[in-house]
Symmetry: C2
Subunit: 185 residues, 2 copies
């Protein structure tokens, strides 16, 4: 399915073995035979859990994002421990850590790539229901403020562009469509 | 609006001055006084132009994305030349380069951040209308296949999760909502 567009690896050079980021500079062969440089980030992937309570509310988390230099209202999410880790288990863990709720039921909705220009990161989206409170264990270095709000308010914040985190915008819109279809008569 | 979550820079170390990627490792002070490491990518930003023809069709572009290792069907988009470049001008240029159409009318719809965990990249979304064919000038190293398709088919491909590029999924959904409201009686 690469439609004659595929680029093949000639040489790979690790640029950074960072605490958080692994960066590579690869030399590739283009479809027309020329060579080009591709620099990219190796990422283990991430999982998103959008909680939905019986009263129709959800929980978002406010978090300061250093790379951008401001705080964002986001859906609960977190990195996989390694590329082969179970996304569903990761979604369940991150939801508990960030919101203090355990999900009795997770529904997989979609897979998407946030940053295809320079990262292999993939995200798995789950709807989290049948929520029960647990003791929350926030990770080291994670400063989070959970914000419980009505579903329609979360959508309105997207449409007013007050929510600006791309994964959160897409996740809420995809969950909303799923709910619309599920609730249709 | 940082809600006591702000992290302040203590020391910044450039890790990579790459051909494409600029990577930094910063030491920051956390809200509780401890220090932490933040590695991040400096990016000039990007602009998206979703073309809409009077017959209700759009153009997506198929492109091989080396970082992920496969090709994606995407909305036309491209990087700003520098962080102060005009996003609207960038959207116009990328649309012409990637689809061969010039937009007589661009409507700004939203701003969002694709990768807040490790990049300062911001994306500006425009709806592109009043389209006129121009001679296409594909950039060096860009191998693109434009695909013209009905609007509803583009949406269906999102809902079937055949489109997996996050910016393209969100862009098409936000344009669709804008059109629904604009076309409402």
């Amino acid at each position: 399915m690469d439609h004659g567009l595929k680029e093949t690896l000639l040489h790979s050079q690790p640029l950074v073995e960072g605490v958080l980021l692994k960066v590579y500079r690869d030399t590739v062969r283009l479809p027309d035979g020329r060579t080009a440089i591709r620099e990219w980030i190796r990422h283990p992937g991430a999982a998103i859990a959008v909680p939905l309570f019986p009263d129709g509310s959800t929980i978002l988390v406010r978090q300061f994002r250093y790379a951008v230099g401001k705080s964002f209202l986001e859906v609960p999410a977190g990195k996989l421990d390694h590329p082969e880790a179970d996304p569903e288990e990761t979604a369940r863990r991150e939801l508990a850590e960030e919101t203090g709720y355990r999900a009795g039921k997770l529904t997989f909705l979609a897979r998407f790539y946030p940053c295809i220009g320079y990262s292999n990161e993939v995200m798995y989206l789950y709807l989290a229901e049948e929520l029960e409170p647990v003791v929350s264990h926030a990770e080291e270095d994670e400063f989070l403020e959970p914000v419980r709000l009505p579903w329609t308010e979360a959508l309105d914040r997207i449409y007013r562009n007050e929510i600006e985190d791309m994964k959160s915008m897409l996740a809420l819109l995809l969950v909303d469509r799923f709910l619309t279809i599920r609730n249709a008569p």
